[in-house]
């Protein structure tokens, strides 16, 4: 099991962003985190590849194990974690370089130097991200010239090129139109046999369509401050959660009564 979270809570300085998150992420599955804005779903996602390390005030309590190892052990190098747990962001963020260089960068980090090997990785990553046919004739063109949906698939290909174990996706379709969204969702189904995927989404239908398991988060009013803390309400197989939610708050959310 790639990830096991136990009583996780995340603080930003004096503010507790999310608390009481315990769940298990399974291999070769798509796990979705859903919930209203500010419920901490992205915060939890960013703990899984230690992206929160980049925020100086962030502090993580509780435990996250990655294949049984404590992810936040002082001996663990966040850089090595991120090579195994790649990330795709909300807004497509290709590097302002050529399409080829976007993919070769990650491969070079893994120590690949030979041109022929790089070429192979670039091609196979683009194939797996269903982008090869659209860009094969212009690999040396700027990645910034691609459409939004293509850029996001390029970002997924960029992850794949590093050969990670897990791919984290932080609302990967929120900046895309429905057609581009559908292509990304197809792609996720395609690659989930090779990678464990954790996706944060605002969109319940998307979670219902693509994910095997869903974690529903919500926000709670704090008595001591006016800021809301996120909390995990329910975690279950997606089909079961959407048909027979155990918690009233989940039911209210998925039936569209709030959020």
């Amino acid at each position: 099991m790639p990830f096991q979270l136990e009583a996780l809570e995340v603080w930003y300085g004096e503010f507790r962003a999310v608390r009481d998150v315990s769940l298990t992420v399974n291999s070769q599955e798509i796990t979705a985190f859903i919930g209203p804005s500010g419920c901490g779903k992205s915060t939890v996602l960013r703990c899984l590849n230690r992206m929160n390390d980049l925020i100086p005030t962030a502090k993580v309590n509780g435990t996250i194990t990655y294949h049984g190892l404590d992810l936040y052990d002082s001996r663990v190098d966040a850089v090595e974690v991120r090579r195994r747990v790649g990330m795709v962001f909300q807004k497509p963020n290709p590097f302002p370089k050529s399409i080829y260089e976007n993919l070769a960068f990650g491969a070079r980090l893994n120590g690949v130097k030979k041109k022929a090997e790089l070429d192979d990785i670039v091609e196979s990553s683009l194939q797996r991200a269903a982008l090869w046919d659209e860009v094969k004739s212009r690999l040396s063109a700027s990645a910034m010239g691609l459409s939004g949906g293509q850029q996001q698939r390029l970002c997924i290909a960029r992850c794949i090129a590093v050969e990670p174990d897990v791919i984290l996706m932080d609302e990967p379709c929120s900046a895309l139109d429905p057609i581009a969204t559908a292509r990304i969702e197809d792609l996720m189904q395609e690659i989930k046999k090779d990678f464990t995927i954790v996706i944060v989404t605002h969109n319940m239908q998307q979670a219902a369509r693509v994910s095997d398991r869903t974690a529903f988060f919500t926000t709670e009013v704090n008595l001591e401050s006016d800021r809301r803390t996120g909390v995990l309400v329910e975690y279950d197989q997606t089909a079961r959660m959407f048909s027979e939610p155990k918690d009233e708050r989940t039911e209210n959310y998925i039936t569209g009564r709030f959020g």
Binding site: V79, G86, F95, P96, S98, L109
Partner: protein, 315 residues
């Protein structure tokens, strides 16, 4: 006043709507503002043009009659017929090279540290504010610093009042400018680029080297060129650390000895030197020398813009 439309008023005549729509109240005010702004720009331009025209007409006798000998003669503030700018041009270029070698790597490295590594503690905030303050310190104060640091204290290394001491003084002078402009260029790189690199497992240095610096390069480059132009135009600090006014004899020192032991001058120092003399002929020499300095600064800037456009690939 309410603007009536045909649908809302029904009976309003087309004529009254036409009258409302064609009110020129806004247009008049906008026009006034535009004229005020344009006047400000024109005033600046006129000043600049006047300066150049004035320098050219004053310096014309020198430029037209003995441009060759003017450019190839040394500093001589006793005889306007013999006065030239050769040593000053060479001095200014040598100073510029020393500034580039010393201030650019130091300044850019400092900026990278401040922006990417230092975090946002009280100490780094104090440092940031003080770098800005340093950029505002009058150049004569840097001259005093150069005198005590490079000429007196480190005289064994610089050779005393040499072009090396002058170059190092100017390097300290422009360092804050380099740091500030490089910092701003680095800060302007979108965070999403850094996240993308971290997200595939790049280390901080790999992220900086492969993505942050290439994106910030044009801005950094512009800042360094501004700094270089400023260094090329400074006279005051050089006067304190040994810039020669009056007459500079190089004797038969080799080029290397001139740099490490001999006296030096620079364009602004030479202009100062000539401007102090009386007489119409020196006025002409001063104007001609000023034009040469303007030309050098424009060439440096132009070269930099050309280089930047050549190496900057727009993605």
């Amino acid at each position: 006043m309410k603007l009536s439309t045909p649908s809302s008023t029904g009976g309003a005549t087309a004529a009254s709507l036409t009258a409302q729509l064609s009110q020129s109240k806004h247009r008049f005010r906008e026009r006034i503002i535009e004229i005020v702004l344009l006047s400000a720009l024109l005033l600046t331009l006129i000043t600049l043009v006047t300066l150049i025209v004035n320098l050219t007409t004053t310096g014309w006798p020198v430029l037209s009659e003995r441009l060759g000998s003017f450019l190839s003669s040394g500093l001589d503030a006793s005889n306007a017929k013999e006065a030239g700018v050769w040593q000053a041009i060479r001095g200014t270029l040598t100073l510029a090279i020393i500034v580039a070698i010393v201030a650019f790597p130091l300044g850019i490295a400092s900026a990278i540290y401040l922006e990417e590594f230092a975090g946002n503690s009280l100490v780094t905030r104090i440092i940031r504010v003080n770098v800005r303050n340093l950029a505002g310190v009058p150049s004569i104060v840097y001259g005093i610093l150069g005198l005590s640091l490079w000429v007196k204290f480190a005289g064994g290394f610089t050779g005393g009042r040499t072009v090396i001491a002058g170059g190092l003084t100017l390097a300290i002078l422009v360092l804050p400018v380099v740091i500030i402009t490089a910092s701003e260029a680095i800060r302007a790189v979108p965070q999403s680029i850094r996240e993308g690199a971290f997200g595939v497992g790049a280390t901080q240095w790999e992220t900086i080297r492969s993505h942050v610096l290439p994106s910030a390069a044009p801005g950094i480059f512009t800042g360094t060129v501004l700094a270089l132009s400023r260094a090329a135009g400074e006279a005051a600090p050089l006067l304190l650390v040994g810039g020669i006014t009056g007459l500079l004899r190089t004797g038969n020192l080799s080029l290397w000895e001139q740099i490490t032991e001999g006296g030096f001058t620079s364009m602004p120092v030479a202009i100062f030197s000539y401007a102090r003399q009386t007489g119409e002929e020196f006025r002409e020499v001063t104007a001609a020398a000023s034009l040469v300095l303007l030309f050098i600064v424009i060439v440096i800037n132009g070269l930099a813009i050309w280089l930047r456009n050549r190496f900057e690939k727009k993605w």
